[in-house]
């Protein structure tokens, strides 16, 4: 049993069985992470490069920790301060890193599709750590893993994704992932932040956040990605918070307790209020904790796939 893919580029290409295999393996790693000795020697022979062309806190630390817990060797690269600013191309950059006997690449890039492009040009396995507004597969896996931990099998569960759906790679990966696991998905937010024809992916669309909360068992609240919005899509952040932000009053009026998730970084007081983010219903920090176990599972399962550097 191993994965049907050589790379983790997007959830779109995964089989449901792949996702289940990743979860089963992650269960095991989660248990390893609770021991006093939090590492295993499995990937002693593997070197991984984390190549980040875009900023990151959680994802990058999470990947690096996952690699270290697996005993892999790690090199980190960030575009700022590198030769990218001197005009080196993506393929040249990566090939130079691979020439130093690196077996696997974790890449974040601001251009959607960059990992697919790279996969056509190099032999090593690639894990997409977020590409533009397209996919962020490990985030979707850790989100679904965290939901499964709280709710069990996700088949038929109702999940609302609320906020800037248009510019969110987390939203798209979540939609694919939850769909493959049989959950019902609704996206909610202002019409300007929801792509047209998104119903084609099998999701419901709602513009009233309160109705979405009323419908769902889990609300995954997403950040407003101002850095990707090149034209005004709503008037002010204050107005967004007023009409589309998730706050305590709203949750209290539901007469049921739903799980609150957020992939981070949080803009407190915009898409989610502080008292909600820090409430007992919030599993935001569980998501972060699970992220390491899920990434360990992905790296471990893909580690046999690429050509190991000789």
């Amino acid at each position: 049993m191993s994965l049907s893919v050589k790379h983790l580029l997007g959830i779109k290409e995964l089989q449901t069985d792949d996702i289940q295999t990743i979860f089963r393996t992650a269960d095991n790693f989660k248990q390893v992470l609770q021991r006093q000795i939090k590492k295993v020697p499995a990937l002693r022979d593997t070197t991984v490069a984390n190549i980040f062309f875009e900023n990151s806190t959680r994802t990058r630390i999470s990947f690096e920790l996952a690699q270290k817990r697996l005993s892999a060797d790690v090199v980190n690269f960030s575009a700022s301060g590198s030769s990218v600013s001197k005009g080196e191309t993506l393929i040249d950059t990566v090939n130079n890193i691979l020439a130093m006997k690196v077996d696997m690449v974790v890449m974040r890039h601001s251009a959607s599709g960059a990992p697919w492009f790279l996969a056509n040009h190099i032999d090593a396995s690639i894990i997409n750590a977020g590409d533009g507004i397209n996919e962020h597969p490990t985030q979707a896996l850790l989100d679904a893993f965290s939901m499964r931990e709280k709710l069990g099998d996700l088949k038929g569960k109702r999940i609302a994704i609320i906020g800037d759906i248009m510019h969110s790679r987390v939203a798209l990966s979540n939609i694919y992932c939850l769909g493959k696991l049989g959950a019902e998905v609704m996206v909610a937010g202002p019409p300007t932040l929801i792509p047209k024809h998104i119903e084609g992916l099998g999701v419901k669309v709602e513009h009233d956040v309160k109705k979405a909360l009323q419908w769902c068992e889990v609300a995954n609240v997403l950040r407003i990605q101002l850095e990707r919005q090149h034209k005004p899509l709503f008037s002010t952040l204050r107005e967004y918070a007023l009409y589309y932000g998730v706050n305590k009053q709203m949750l209290d009026s539901l007469q049921k307790e739903i799980l609150i998730m957020h992939p981070g970084p949080i803009n407190r007081g915009v898409e989610i209020s502080s008292d909600v983010a820090d409430s007992k219903q919030s599993i935001i920090l569980d998501q972060v904790e699970n992220g390491v176990a899920v990434r360990m599972a992905v790296i471990y399962l893909l580690s046999g796939k690429g050509e190991l550097a000789e």
Binding site: M1, S2, T21, T25, N28, I37, P41, G304
Partner: protein
């Protein structure tokens, strides 16, 4: 195909192994049993059950250990091994650990198991109990302390252990 142990013989052998354990660990005060996933667990389930029956002690600490991430052939095959559950709900610190596996062959699994075990704590001692010992096939200097049956085999042969819980029969066979 040759039967090494039939249902009756297997039962007698398991009884003997349980009694030998009791001989060496009279009260099981500081002794814990750990089955190696996936196949050793069927044997350790039986042994744990027998010990409970014979000693009348309700709870001899009993755990299961997965060794997938400690194998020395992680990247040798094409497939990655998907792990089974490790479940050791007690501390092994300063305990006498009895590792349990069904067939001892090259010794590589046991080497991995000892590495895995030590990541859970520092046991006082580690012993090894196996149902079948394929002697002369060892690739590492590892020997069992309790043996159900010793067999002489060549590398192309296979020893298969059937348990009635999963295979509807208790039997050990040697396949050519």
């Amino acid at each position: 195909m040759k039967t090494l142990l039939d249902t009756k013989q297997l039962d007698i052998t398991l009884q003997r192994l349980a009694h030998q354990l009791i001989e060496n660990h009279t009260q099981f005060k500081d002794t814990v049993l750990i089955g190696i996933q996936p196949r050793g667990v069927w044997l350790s389930d039986r042994i744990a059950g027998l010990l409970k029956g014979i000693t009348g002690q309700p709870a001899i600490p009993y755990g299961k250990l997965d060794i997938t991430f400690y194998r020395d052939d992680v990247h040798q095959g094409n497939e990655m091994h998907v792990p089974s559950q490790t479940d050791i709900p007690f501390s092994i610190e300063d305990k006498n650990v009895v590792l349990v596996d069904d067939v001892l062959h090259t010794g590589r699994t046991i080497r991995s198991a000892m590495d895995a075990l030590i990541d859970y704590g520092r046991p006082k001692s580690v012993e090894l109990l196996v149902l079948i010992d394929r002697r002369f096939s060892r690739e590492l200097p590892i020997q069992p302390d309790y043996v159900g049956q010793t067999v002489d085999t060549i590398i192309t042969q296979k020893v298969k252990v059937y348990w009635k819980e999963k295979d509807q029969k208790d039997e050990v066979v040697l396949i050519d």
